[in-house]
Symmetry: C2
Subunit: 220 residues, 2 copies
């Protein structure tokens, strides 16, 4: 089970895109797919696809391509979405509500099991089937409910403070929607989504005259 090699960061991002495309193919009963066609669907070369996948093992079948259901299984295992994670949403504003209602999260194995906010006006109210909890219950509930992921949908000004509390309570990863860089010690993982950054990328491309899209080829 040794995996001695360093994985390029852009590769990890593309794995998600491969999986998304493969799940689509599976729905349309495609049994196999070649690196060439998979790459074309995502704007990548065939060599790129093969190299990315080869970091993790030999999943392909010469002369045939990759078997879709098999590769889906492998990618889920690699990405860690073959198991379930309990998650807490902190911040029941507009973005928080959207996340709670986002069906795709559950399908990826993320179960929102608690929602927190510090606004007395909404504590104990129900949002999309979840009773909003007080921040003072955070540490206790993270432990009791075995919450491993914190989804941060709070204002930027309090994001770091809430992060520290989540980590102290035992969370292993933070999905950050606040427009700030979070300082965490490196036993905790962070992934950030910043709408404004995306918007500025778009504005830049448009102002530029637009030649290629900065879309999801390496980024998103």
């Amino acid at each position: 089970m040794a995996r001695p090699q360093r994985i390029p960061r852009p590769t990890v991002k593309r794995l998600s895109l491969y999986l998304r495309e493969l799940e689509d193919l599976a729905e349309h009963q495609h049994e196999t797919i070649s690196s060439k066609r998979l790459g074309a669907a995502l704007g990548l070369t065939d060599a790129q696809v093969r190299k990315d996948l080869a970091y993790f093992g030999q999943f392909g079948h010469p002369g045939v391509g990759y078997r879709v259901p098999e590769l889906i299984g492998q990618l889920r295992k690699i990405l860690g979405t073959d198991r379930n994670w309990n998650a807490a949403v902190v911040g029941a504003g507009n973005v928080g509500r959207a996340i709670i209602a986002y069906q795709r999260f559950r399908r990826k194995g993320f179960d929102v099991v608690a929602v927190f906010d510090d606004d007395p006006a909404i504590i104990d109210r129900e949002i999309a089937g979840h009773r909003v909890r007080s921040m003072s219950d955070l540490a206790r509930l993270v432990r009791e409910l075995d919450i491993k992921i914190g989804v941060l949908t709070v204002p930027a000004a309090v994001a770091q403070e809430v992060t520290d509390r989540l980590i102290a309570a035992g969370v292993r990863g933070i999905l950050n929607f606040a427009p700030v860089r979070l300082d965490v010690h490196d036993a905790v993982a962070v992934a950030s989504v910043d709408f404004s950054v995306a918007l500025e990328q778009l504005a830049f491309q448009i102002s530029l005259g637009v030649t290629g899209s900065l879309d999801e080829k390496g980024e998103e």
Copy 2:
């Protein structure tokens, strides 16, 4: 005003992060900042910061650093957020509502001037001060209201079709929240935000044992 050089894609992403940090510094009345301190705040080297900025001109002052308000102005100009863009939100579901209410968009110069949906149950209803319009009015309103940006918050299955309609109506850029790759001819810019991809990046880091964050150093 010639700008002959090719800009690395990671550089453009970092410009947004510089701007975010600088706006924060400006609020705390910092007059100047060195590449070293700016880099440290974002987990980057000083050389990286200087090289990124130097692609666009000579904004620094040897012995002093960068003057914060001056650099903010330059970055806004470079990113194209020094002017205003009219935007339409297509899809008035949870994500669409969150976007409509997101104050930061307006501050970046993006004005949501129309909201569209195809659900008769919500057409003509008000959402956060916007009357929801029928999809059949899309082409006409894009022209009449001079809408340049389409924000796609529709289900994946119809994302490409809606994109085609937006482009046909004259939109110059698409901010895509649907988990699909959009095919567009290259006079139109696309930037994508995919929550599931972010979630999978997080899961991967956690499963890995976690050594460094894949955060926003080059990724977001």
